[in-house]
Amino acid sequence: MEAIRTKIEVAGAGLRPVVGERQAVFEARDVSVFYGDQLAIDNVNIDIYQHLITAIIGPSGCGKSTFIRTLNRMTDLVPGARLSGQVRYRGIDLYGPGVDAVEVRRRIGMVFQKPNPFPKSIYDNVAYGLRILGMRNGLDERVERALRSAALWDEVKDRLGDTALGLSGGQQQRLCIARAIAVEPEVILFDEPASALDPISTSAIEDLMHELKRDYTLVIVTHNMQQAARVADMTAFFGLEVAPDESRRGVLVEYDETEKIFTNPSDKRTEDYITGRFG
């Protein structure tokens, strides 16, 4: 733990490479996703590293959300969705035989675009997963710890019994993060977590992500390039490729350290996108 922390600080000080000897948590190999006959993302190959924040950026419809949802098998929930290739999580093929999607999602949590708290009390929102997954010992402490980690504790500690629907959008989103943290996942996926929030709430979420990467591996899909530049260590740029028959598919154009992507991208398409000439 100490060693990793030091490495992050070194990386933050501008020494390269960011990845160093970090372990790849996810290895996506030739991943294509189809919705029915429609190819949504084509042949994505990417390694996502432990205790880093990896951002996925790109224009609308390029398959960013589709890709992040392959990482915890949320793609399974879309009727007619099919995946080819391999997504390995710590060496295990997530789509291999005998792998249970429910078990996968317990280890790889997710925060969604729109805050989606349950219509229950603040406390019950966080305790929900804990109770169902049998993590009942020290429930109060676990709830408090999760709320503290999500930087929400001080705002809600006196009204844990109130409905979560009475919180502001930014608070609701932090509650959703607390809910995800509570069940002690190893990875948290963020699918455009701040796109429905005001700038102050957005900045709170971003600060929080910096805190969280000490303990978790984070992947964030974002529309907002500044956000990617602010929070991410590594950035993947997804682009749209138009086939001769006019069908569109998402492809991974470039994946590198965030600073490289935003200052000196290797691919013309990345450069066009980040300089605003496209998208």
Partner: protein, 293 residues
């Protein structure tokens, strides 16, 4: 200053449109008033005609045996109705909710369509047919009439109402809530039970109330399932044939001397239904308040 080339006064065309608009508005208000008036007339005339028989004895005494012109009270008819409808609800509510869960959460689209159609057809079966069916099936096995048999017939009537109403509200539960739960590593079934169904509780309650009102008002399927051969008029055992409010109305109305009591029983039945729906609304309001949503 020159006269403008256009006028902002009401033109003939506009006047005509306004007239049509006003007329249609009046028709709509009239239709609404008529609907309320029909209800009011029914309630008032039932209460008015039954008022003479509505006294304490009516509620506290059991029915008289045989053709006693006095008739007695409806205590056990109320109890019988409550038992009949209560047992029917205990059968139809969980079953209906499960069917709805199957249709909205689990079934592939073509199976869901078939199940939905089956429910609609069941809903369309004349209740007397359901009565005959249960009579033949159950009498053959059980050998005697009972309130349970009546409840079973009522449950068959209630099932499609509960299931369809529940299914419709389950579809309204945002999929983002399901996703939130599934993303925590909670299984589909637990998600349905702990997140989806509670969010849809209001609609389930409304659907159940409607079904209860419908079942409480049924007479046809009860006629030969629990009324013929009622040996005692002071009984609440569901394994025996029991009296019910609708049956009391049915039998009393034939006897001129007892018609006032039939009206009174009708009034009690209406109140029974009204209180059921009020209680459900109250329970719902309290539940919503707890959620603050």
């Amino acid at each position: 200053m020159a006269e403008p080339a256009f006028s902002l006064r009401t033109s003939d065309r506009l006047r005509r449109r306004q007239l049509v608009s006003r007329a249609m508005g009046a028709v709509a208000v009239g239709a609404a008033l008529l609907a309320v008036a029909v209800l009011a007339i029914v309630v008032i005339s039932v209460a008015h005609r039954g008022a003479g028989a509505l006294n304490l004895d009516f509620f506290t005494q059991s029915q008289a045996q045989g053709f006693n012109p006095n008739g007695g009270g409806v205590l056990f008819a109320i109890v019988g109705s409550a038992v009949l409808v209560g047992i029917a609800t205990l059968i139809a509510l969980p079953l209906g909710v499960l069917v709805a869960i199957f249709i909205s959460e689990l079934a592939p689209p073509h199976l869901a369509r078939i199940a939905r159609m089956a429910l609609d057809i069941t809903n369309g079966i004349p209740t007397i047919v359901i009565g005959i069916f249960v009579f033949t099936m159950l009498m053959a096995i059980h050998g005697q009439q009972s309130a349970i048999a009546g409840s079973l017939a009522l449950a068959i009537i209630m099932l499609p109402l509960v299931a369809r109403a529940t299914e419709e509200v389950l579809l309204l539960v945002p999929s983002s809530l399901r996703e939130a739960s599934l993303a925590l590593g909670v299984s589909r079934w637990r998600t349905t039970l702990q997140v989806v169904v509670p969010s849809a509780l209001g609609g389930i309650l409304t659907g159940t109330t409607l079904a209860i009102a419908r079942a409480a008002g049924e007479t046809a399927p009860l006629l030969f399932l629990t009324s013929l051969g009622v040996s005692s008029h002071a009984d609440a055992n569901p394994f025996h044939p029991l009296q019910s409010l609708t049956l009391v109305i049915f039998t009393y109305f034939d006897v001129p001397a007892l018609q006032t009591k039939a009206w009174a029983a009708a009034f009690v039945l209406m109140c029974f239904v009204l209180f059921t729906s009020l209680a459900a609304k109250l329970a719902l309001a309290r539940y919503r308040k707890k959620l603050g949503g």
